[in-house]
Amino acid sequence: MKIHIKNGRVVDPQSGVEKVQDVYIAAGKIAAVGVPPSGFHANRVIDANGLVVCPGLVDLSARLREPGFEHKATLESEMAAAVAGGVTSLACPPDTDPPLDEPGLVEMLKYRARGLNQAHVYPLGALTLGLKGERITEMAELVDAGCVGFSQADVPLDDNLVMLRAMQYATTFGYSVWLRPSDGGLSRSGVAHDGQVSTRLGLAPIPVAAETVALSTMLLLARETGARVHLCRLSSAEGVEMMRQAKALGMNVTCDVSANNVHLSELDIGYFDSNYHLVPPLRSLRDRDALRHGVEDGTIDAICSDHTPVDEDAKQLPFGESEAGATGLELLLALTLKWAEESRISLPKAIAKVTTDPARILGIGTVAVAAGANADLCIFDPKLRWKVEPSRLKSQGKNTPFAGYELMGRVLYTLVGGHLVYEA
């Protein structure tokens, strides 16, 4: 199918180009940008006047809930949510049921995802069997089946010897290890940031030390082993500072932050609203501001949605008993644009944080609006205001802390492999 995208404002973080140009798509690739290829006859013309044309979003963490948690969400609903959010590539954590520690499960997931013909799914394999933190998984087999890295999801890995060995094994093959810094003992039974809100509300606290203690261990072991480590979902000012220092020392580490922590703080919990029960927890305003600066100065490489659909029954419980997590695929773009506007960041730089930068971390090749690149594109109206209404989200998870927020920036078209997979 040949597609002609007319008059859109092309934003290509790869080259730094930001210009109103036409884009020509054929055979699943971008055939040309600006000047049409000779003899190009479009089957479909998209009028992108006033719209932005950028690479499809790359989300470093989106839970699809298959296999095992189909009452929370299914591939059908979550893949639809992804493309509605302009996401064309996503990495999913291994904490499914059973966890993704067997090649067969990964193959099945990839097969199912491919069949839906929507976003590209890049599974992260379990670092240890069953995520139990004892035995390492068959990493090479899992990569053959389609994994792009290895992770413990939100399950703490407290045996440092196992962590060391897992990293060593991964470096044998050059695989990346994705870890969320959270010390099991210090975060055990905690449900909210150790601060003024948890003190007033009587919620079991999770101190910042739970992140920094684990982060320092992970950084030291990464340095020791030379492993390529990606730290997931920073939440604290001290954590950002540690990453800054690690990068200054030339360490081969990257990190991301959830869009939730970029915008929200402990104060948003209000009267025990479990939509704000998240992992990592929402911390203080000071932490939130440090995270925002970290994204701005490049210490934090990418913003992700940390999409985690939770069924209503699991949220309609007292805060401490409720399941943590927020739906987010459909909000990633608008929340990134909101951060950019508030922090006065240019559009190409902001879009880089959810396209080229996460693509580099995932290792999925060039993501660009340029001739020869895959036609994975997101076309959005940067000026369109919309209200977040949970019932109208495509995700089965209606659990969003941004319910009722008015956001700016709405996806109108999404293309994957040259096919129009979403049209608003």
Binding site: G195, T199, R200, G270, Y271, F272, Q316, L317, P318, E321
Partner: protein, 317 residues
């Protein structure tokens, strides 16, 4: 964020969930009304007909005989019908969700729920989901709040000391896990007590407790110096298991209220305890039974205060 979930559109008290954020005049009104209910105990008929025909459900997800009994007595003295549900043994454990349990009970024409739960925020969750005519009283949720206890403690202090604005009050013990302490701190600061102190080992005081407006002491003698009111908190046995304390003996030696330690306080200081007491752990028997102790009157005041809360709530439509 919504407005105060405890108040209705007219600013009247509709639920009692926490003392935090409660307007001062509502707190004072509860204390004044409780004062009127006290005189009932001297009559032959200790009942008034205010809540006749109303059904009060005691929803105790966390067991407690003492608190449940005082609420039951208070409700019956208002002529209400009282149903007791120890939910741990009934449908909850069969997998029915908290909100389903509440919905089923509402369908049985409940007018008021008195809720105790092990999780902070449970009463707020229930209040958000009940029909508009049902009132919810928080009888203790996790570590968060126990507002009727806080109110009866204020009533006790007012009874013996009259003027809040001249007092030093010390709260001693496991503040970290204590919903009673949090409610007391909010009430004391709302009523204008100029100095509220918390005394305990570091492990039992929340890291950010000073942000609640209290002075922190780890030395009991210094902490009790010249105080007018000493409130002792109960120490639970589990604290020894969580690496919070080494032993009850060491706790008693440094933080247990003995006549010697009490001597630092003013000579006419009163000693309070929300109960039940662990004699020899947080408080010495001679002090608990001594003439500065007002622990038994607290119980009587508790019934009057709960009657006041229920009658103010039920009257707000």
């Amino acid at each position: 964020m919504a407005g105060n979930p405890q108040l209705n559109a007219n600013g009247e008290l509709h639920h009692l969930l926490t003392i935090e954020g409660l307007p001062r005049d509502i707190i004072v009104r509860i204390l004044d009304t409780a004062h009127s209910f006290l005189s009932l105990t001297e009559r032959e008929i200790k009942k008034v007909p205010l809540l006749r025909g109303k059904a009060v459900f005691n929803l105790f997800f966390e067991p407690s005989t003492r608190t449940r009994t005082t609420f039951e007595i208070a409700a019956k003295r208002l002529s209400a019908d009282v149903i007791n549900l120890n939910v741990g043994t009934s449908s909850q454990s069969k997998g029915e969700t908290l909100l389903d349990t509440v919905a089923n009970l509402s369908a049985m024409h409940a007018d008021m729920f008195i809720v105790r739960h092990a999780q902070s925020g449970a009463a707020h969750l229930i209040a958000r989901h009940v029909a508009p005519y049902i009132h919810v009283i928080n009888a203790g949720d996790g570590r968060h709040a126990h507002p009727t206890q806080g109110l009866l403690d204020m009533f006790t202090i007012r009874h013996y000391k009259q003027d809040f604005t001249r007092l030093r009050v010390a709260i001693v013990g496991d503040v970290l896990h204590s919903r009673v302490a949090r409610s007391q701190i909010h009430a004391l600061t709302s009523l204008g007590v100029p100095e509220v102190r918390v005394i305990g080992p570091r492990t039992l005081l929340p890291n950010h407790v000073s942000e609640l407006g209290v002075h922190v002491f780890h030395d009991m003698a210094k902490g009790l110096k010249d105080v007018d009111v000493v409130i002792m908190l109960r120490l639970q046995n589990e604290r020894m298991n969580g690496a919070l304390l080494p032993s009850a003996q060491e706790f008693f030696k440094y933080y247990g209220l003995t006549p010697e330690k009490l001597a630092s306080a003013k000579a006419d200081a009163i000693v309070m305890h929300p109960g039940p007491m662990n004699r020899g752990v947080e408080i010495d028997s001679s002090v608990a039974d001594g003439n500065q102790s007002v622990i038994l009157p607290q119980v009587t005041f508790g019934i009057a205060v709960r009657m006041a809360v229920m009658s103010i709530l039920a009257g707000s439509g």
